[in-house]
Symmetry: C2
Subunit: 243 residues, 2 copies
Amino acid sequence: MTTERPSRPSGPFPAAVTVDLVILTVREGALHVLLIERGNEPFRGSPALPGGYVRPWEGLDETALRELREETGLDGRRLHLEQLRSYGAPDRDPRGRTVTVAYLALGPDLPVPVAGTDAHAARWVPVARALGEGFGLAFDHAAILADGVERARSQLEYTTAATAFCTEPFTMSELRGVYEVVWGISLDPSNFRRKVTRTAGFVVPTGERRAMESGRPAALYRRGPARDLYPPLLRSSEMTASG
Amino acid sequence: MTTERPSRPSGPFPAAVTVDLVILTVREGALHVLLIERGNEPFRGSPALPGGYVRPWEGLDETALRELREETGLDGRRLHLEQLRSYGAPDRDPRGRTVTVAYLALGPDLPVPVAGTDAHAARWVPVARALGEGFGLAFDHAAILADGVERARSQLEYTTAATAFCTEPFTMSELRGVYEVVWGISLDPSNFRRKVTRTAGFVVPTGERRAMESGRPAALYRRGPARDLYPPLLRSSEMTASG
DNA sequence: GCAAAAGTGTTATTATTACACCCATGA
DNA sequence: TCATGGGTGTAATAATAACACTTTTGC
């Protein structure tokens, strides 16, 4: 709280606070989200975003990190993890008033959540399907997921977050593929390369090369220290929509 | 909530949920924030962001709108109002666990909060002072305010939010002044004008003019329908720092 | 050699920047 | 007429977009 309002009877009332995670990755040429299957009512059996209650002694970020570790076995400090926004419609949970703080995590194609301690039926689902008709995401999770995807798209414009989707070391094609998959458009390879390599600190070449299935071997890169992109890499300027 | 975790005893525990408002305006050539003076412990007598408890039947946006109306007497639907982010450090309120959802409101130089029903000692404070040494904002409100200011700066780059600071109708100078005050830099008047007028829907000319203290009368404009700026008006590209 | 993908170069277009200069008004 | 912003024009620079072309691999 922060401001009492003695003149108006509106003191604190108990609410449950949770953290839900929108964990995105790029797999098989499509954006995927990590979903679990609910084991309890309400929405028993429905797919849902992983998440859980904030514990009394935890900060919100801490809860997000813990949930991420529990659900995926991954160290959140090595992923892109940021608070997305909060959702608190009074009827969002039929059991009672809950407010959830959503977090967005971006990571490379993780070895499927099996490492998690209690990864109950966690699985990767293409975002297009999870947001499609009749998929039936629990609660308001479809809206949260949609917001998360939009945030991810925007992050690709102004930050180096795309590298979070790549397993190091990665090729320029792989990085470009992230943009293409997340934005759903095609980018001109040569213009993309120029943009990335000329942005100081976006990627650093390892000097190594990797042979591809076919064609000339590609140079390998790692994430650079830069976090922000200037100038940004705007999707509306669609470099090239060469299907 | 969303995910129970039967294997781990971590059920819901009561937390108070509040909404705090970062209400910004431009006055006398400086960015100001609306602060109240706390009447109760803790931080009794300290300046703080206006805010209050979320009521049982309210959504978060509703609470923000209600608080805005109560504190300033203004209709939030006519201001730029958006969720900023949430803060939930376990020790942020000594009375107990609270999570606050901060909102950012941008408005023209409001007729000082007197209209509010219970505007207890609400006043405009220059942001530079509120964030300065020894000002003593309650709770973690200094961090929230800093985040709000940074968000506002960023919004000016990518959206037409700057018009929210202007009283209609406004002149090009007034709009430019908003950018200069919020960003703390000087902009080249002619380049700024070109940028604004060439962005479809940013502003619409009224056809009227207003005589200034000195010099040629300035054309008047109103907010246009556009919400996003493309291309953006980036502050790093500092048009001109002719300060 | 051929296909395929990496990578380089070149040009046209657009956006940004800097700044010169004219316009309309009050004093 | 002068001082003071408002407002227009223009040229240099930088970024983007489109696309031709060369390189290096596997087969």
